[in-house]
C-alpha cells in the first residue's frame, strides 16, 4: 500500500466506522467493537505513514478540482503528521473511555454519539492532511457541524442555548472572517496551496499582511483567541468524552493547527518576521492567556475551569507561532501534542469523578483521592504537565516556547509565560491539595463510591502514562517539528 492509500484509508475508516455504528444500533457490543476496529485501522494507517514523512516524503493526493485552480487535495507534512498522530492515537483511548462513561451514566442516543464521534475524527484527519486552504476550510466547517449534535446531546433547553453559542461563534467567525481571509489570499497570491515559505509575494503591503493575519487569527474561531472564545465553555454541556477528545483535542487543536499551518505555509515565517503589522499578535494572545487563566482560577465548576485552561493553553500555541522564531515554531508544534495528552487526561478525570461521585465542583473534591486514587493520580500527572513541571510532557513544549521568546527578545511574551505558569499552578495545585490532604466532607447522602468503571480508569492510566512517556520520548515528535523550520 502506498502512502496515498494509507492517507485515504485513514480518513475513510472512521466514515465507514460511523456507517457501521449506525447500522449496528441494536447491538451495543457489536457497535462498540466497530468503533474500535475503525479506530484501530485509522491508527495503524497513520502510524505507517510516519516513517515516510520522517524521511522527508510529502505524499500527496489530488482528488478533483472544486474551483478552477483549487482542488480537493491532501498533502502530508510534519505538522499535519503530528496532529494526525495526536488524533489517531487518542481516538481509541477515548472510545474506551466513552464506553465506560456512556454506559455508566445511562446516556441516551449512544449510537448517534459514536457515529458523530467517528465522523468528527474523519474531519480532523481531513484537516490534518489538507493541502490547501479550501480543503482545510471544507473539513473545518464540517467538523463544526458534525460536532453540533454532540454538544446538544442532551436535547434540553440548556443544550439548545449552548448549541446556539457554539454554532454562532464557530460558524460566525469562519463563514465571515476566515472565508474572506481565504478569498483575499487567493486574490493577492493567486493560490491557496500550503507552500513552504509562504505564498505571499514581495509586492503585498505590510498593512495588507496585518489585516489578513487578523482575519485568519480571529476567523479561525476554533483557536479560541479572545474575544472568540465563548463557544468553548458553552460546549461543556456536552457529555465529558466529547469535551475530552473534541474540545480538548480534535476541535480546538484543529483551530490552533490551522493557525500554525497558515503562519508557516501561507504567510511564511521569514516573510513576515519583523513586520510591524504583525507584532500585535503576541499581545492579543498574551492577554488571552492571562485573562483565561484568571477566569479559570475563579471557576468552581471543574469542567469550566478546564475549559478556560484550554483557552489559555491554546493561546500558548498561537503565541508561539506569532513569535516567528524557529524555536518557538517548534514549541507551537510540540505544545499541540503535549497539551492534547495532558488535557485529555484531566477531562477524563473530571468525567470519572462525575460518573463515580456525581460531583462537578472543585469545592466538593475534599479527600476524593482516597476513594479514587487512580483518577487523582492521573489528574495530578495531567496538571503537572499543564503547569510545565518535569517529568511531564508539558515541560518540553513550554521550554521551547520560552527559548523562542528569549531568542526573539520578546520580553512581554516571557513575562506572560512566567505569570501564566504561576496562574496554572494556582488553579491546579489546590485541587490536588484538597483531594489528597483534606478530610472528605460529609455530603449528606453518606454515599460510598469507589473508582469509575474500569474502561474509564484504564483510559486515564493510558493517557497519564503517555504524558510521562512523552517527556522521555520527546526526541521523536521533536524530530518532526524540526523539519518545519529545517533546523
Amino acid at each position: 500500500m502506498t502512502a496515498q492509500h494509507l492517507m485515504l484509508l485513514a480518513m475513510v475508516a472512521p466514515v465507514l466506522g460511523a456507517l457501521g455504528v449506525s447500522l449496528a444500533q441494536r447491538s451495543p457490543n457489536l457497535r462498540e467493537t466497530l468503533s474500535f476496529v475503525a479506530a484501530g485501522i485509522a491508527l495503524v494507517c497513520v502510524l505507517l505513514l510516519v516513517p515516510e514523512v520522517y524521511a522527508g516524503g510529502r505524499p500527496e493526493i489530488v482528488l478533483f478540482e472544486i474551483l478552477p485552480g483549487v482542488a480537493l487535495a491532501f498533502r502530508l507534512e510534519p505538522l499535519g503528521m503530528l496532529f494526525a498522530l495526536v488524533a489517531a492515537v487518542l481516538w481509541p483511548v477515548s472510545t474506551l473511555y466513552s464506553i465506560g462513561y456512556m454506559r455508566g451514566n445511562d446516556e441516551s442516543h449512544q449510537t448517534r454519539f459514536f457515529a458523530c464521534f467517528a465522523l468528527a475524527i474523519a474531519c480532523t484527519l481531513g484537516i490534518a492532511f489538507s493541502a490547501n486552504l479550501l480543503t482545510l476550510f471544507l473539513f473545518y466547517e464540517v467538523l463544526t457541524l458534525i460536532t453540533y449534535p454532540l454538544v446538544t446531546h442532551h436535547q434540553d433547553e440548556e443544550a439548545r442555548k449552548a448549541g446556539r453559542v457554539y454554532l454562532g461563534f464557530l460558524l460566525g467567525s469562519s463563514l465571515s472572517l476566515m472565508l474572506i481571509a481565504i478569498i483575499a489570499t487567493w486574490m493577492m497570491a493567486g493560490t491557496v496551496e500550503f507552500t513552504p515559505g509562504g505564498v505571499l509575494g514581495a509586492d503585498i503591503s505590510n498593512a495588507a499582511i496585518g489585516g489578513l493575519l487578523a482575519l485568519f487569527i480571529f476567523g479561525i474561531g476554533k483557536a479560541a483567541v479572545m474575544p472568540f472564545h465563548r463557544w468553548l465553555p458553552a460546549a461543556m454541556v456536552a457529555p465529558t468524552p466529547v469535551s475530552a477528545l473534541l474540545h480538548a483535542v480534535a476541535v480546538v487543536k484543529a483551530g490552533v493547527f490551522s493557525v500554525v499551518k497558515v503562519v508557516i505555509y501561507i504567510f511564511g515565517v521569514e516573510r513576515i518576521a519583523g513586520l510591524s503589522s504583525v507584532d500585535w499578535l503576541p499581545f492579543v494572545t498574551g492577554f488571552t492567556i492571562i485573562a483565561a487563566s484568571v477566569v479559570a482560577l475563579r471557576s468552581d465548576n471543574l469542567k469550566r475551569r478546564l475549559a478556560y485552561s484550554t483557552i489559555s493553553q491554546l493561546s500558548y500555541v498561537v503565541l508561539a507561532a506569532a513569535l516567528l522564531t524557529p524555536l518557538s515554531i517548534i514549541g507551537a508544534a510540540l505544545h499541540i501534542v503535549s497539551h492534547a495528552v495532558g488535557k485529555i487526561t484531566l477531562f477524563f478525570a473530571a468525567g470519572a469523578i462525575y460518573t463515580a461521585a456525581h460531583k462537578t465542583k472543585v469545592s466538593e473534591l475534599d479527600g476524593i483521592a482516597k476513594r479514587m486514587p487512580w483518577t487523582m493520580a492521573a489528574f495530578t500527572v495531567g496538571a503537572l504537565s499543564l503547569i510545565g513541571i518535569p517529568p511531564a510532557a508539558g515541560f518540553y513544549s513550554k521550554w521551547y516556547i520560552v527559548l523562542g521568546a528569549a531568542e526573539g527578545g520578546h520580553w512581554t511574551a516571557l513575562a506572560v509565560l512566567g505569570a501564566s505558569t504561576l496562574l496554572n499552578a494556582a488553579y491546579f495545585l489546590p485541587i490536588i491539595y484538597v483531594a489528597y490532604f483534606c478530610a472528605p466532607a460529609d455530603d449528606g447522602h453518606g454515599r460510598e463510591h469507589g473508582e469509575a468503571p474500569w474502561p474509564m480508569v484504564a483510559a486515564m492510566v493510558i493517557t497519564a502514562t503517555g504524558v510521562l512517556a512523552l517527556f522521555f520520548g520527546m526526541e521523536f515528535p521533536l524530530a518532526l517539528a524540526r523539519q518545519l523550520v529545517s533546523l
Binding site: F64, E65, I66, L67, P68, L72, L134, F137, L138, E141, V142, L145, P149, T152, Q155, A159, R160, G163, R164, L167, L171, G172, L175, S176, L177, L179, I180, I183, A184, W186, M187
Partner: protein, 492 residues
Amino acid sequence: MILDHLPALQVVVPLLAAPLIVLLRSGRLGWLIATAVSWTGLVVAVLLFLRVQDAGTISYAMGSWAPPWGIEYRVDALSSYVLVLVSLLAAVVLPYARLSIAAEVPSDRHYLLYAMFALCLCGLLGIAITGDAFNVFVFLEISSLSGYVLIALGRDRRALRSAFQYLIMGTIGATFYVIGVGLLYLMTGTLNLADMATRLGAVQEVRPVLAALAFITVGLSLKIALFPLHIWLPGAYAYAPSAVSAFMAGTVTKVSVYVLLRFMFGIFGVRLVLPGLPLLEILTLLSAVAMVVASLVALLERDLKRLLAYSSVAQIGYITLGLGLGNVDGLTASVVHLFNHGVTKTALFMLVGGIALRAGSCQLDALAGLARRMPVTCFGVVLAGLSLIGVPGTAGFITKWHLVLSALQAGQWWVVVVIATSSLLAAAYVWRFVEVAYLRIPTGPVAREEAPLSMLAPAWLLVAACIYFGLDTSFSLAGARDAAVMLLEGAR
C-alpha cells in the same frame, strides 16, 4: 436532421402538450404527458447545451424567415445554461407533483393544472431561447398568466389574494417591459436583440433610450422580485400548491434575471452606452438591502414556506448583487447562482411540501420534534439549508466564493460585510428549523411517517445536487463563466 430543429422543439413540444392535456380532460394522462414533455425538454436542453459548447452560438430562423425580419431563436452560452436549469427543474418537479397535487388540489382541476404547468414551462423556455424582444414579452405573458392560474389553484383561500396581487404586479411589470421595448423599436427599427444591440450604438438621441432602459429595468425588477418590488413573492410561494411553489421558486424569477442580464449587458452595454448613470450602483445597493432585510424577515417568520419565500428574496439579492458588481467574477456568481439557488430552493420547497402533506401544517410551532417522524425529509432540509447558508462543500458556497472575490476585486469592502452578514442570517433562520425539528419535544405522535417515495426521491435528487455541485463545478461553474465572459464581451 431533427437535431437542427432542436430550438423549435424546445418550445413547441410543451406548447402543443397544453391543449392536448385540456382536450383529454384526464388528470392522470395530463400528468403523464406533462412529465414526458418535461423529460423531452430536458433532453433537448442538454443536447443544445452540448452543441453550443462544441460549435458556439446556434441561430435558428423560425419558419425559415431570416433574422432580423423573422423571429430568431438564439441559443448561446447563457441561454443554453438557463434552458438546462428550467427544464431540469421541471423534469424533477413533475414526478413529485402527482401525489402532492393529488393531496392539495381537487381532482377535477388536475388536468387544468398540468395544462397550465406545460404552458408555464413553454413560456419560461421560450423567454430563454428567443432572440426577439417582443417574442420575449409574449413568452413572459404566457408564463405569467399560467403562473397566476397555478398559484390560484392553491387550497388556501389566501392563494386567490396572492395570485391577484401577483397578477397586478406582474402585469405592471410586463407593461413596463413592453413600453421599453416599444421605445427601443422606435429608435432602432428592429426587435431582434442582436440587431438592436448593433443599431443602438448609432442612435444619437439618448433620452428615449434612457426611458427604455428605465422602463425595462423596473418592469423586469418587478418580475425578478428585486427588493423593494418583491411583495408579491412571499404570498405567491407560500399559498400555491407545493409542487407549483417548488417549480416557480427555482425558475420564474431566474428567467427574468436572464432577460435583465440580456438587456443590461447585451443591449445597453452598461458602461459604454450610458456612462455616468449609477445603474449598477443602485442595483448593488438594493441587492445589499434585500440580502439583509429579507433575511431578517425570514428570521421572524413563523411559517416555513413564507420563511423560504423571504429567503428567496434575499437570495435573489445575491444574484443581482453579482450583476451590480459587474466584473467577470460577479457575473459568474450571478449566473451560477441562478443554477445553485434554483436547485437549492426547489429542493427545499419540495421537502417542505412533503412536510405540509404529513404534518398538515408548515407553522414552525406545529413541527416540534419533526425529525423523529420524518428523519429523511428533515435531514434533506438541513443539507439544502447548508447550501442556502453557503457552507463549503455545497452549491451555495461556490456562489459566495465568487461574490466575495468579485467584491474584493471591486474594492467594495462594505459589500463583503453584507455578504457575510447575510450568510450568517441564513444560518440563523435555517437553524430555527433545526432546533424545532431536532431539539424540541414532539407534541403529537412520533411514528415514522415519511412523505411518499415519489415525492421524497425527486427532492433528494436535488438535495444531492446541492452537494454535488458544491464539489464538482465543471458544469455549473464553467457554464456560468462562459456566459459571464460572453456577456462582458457583448458589453464592450
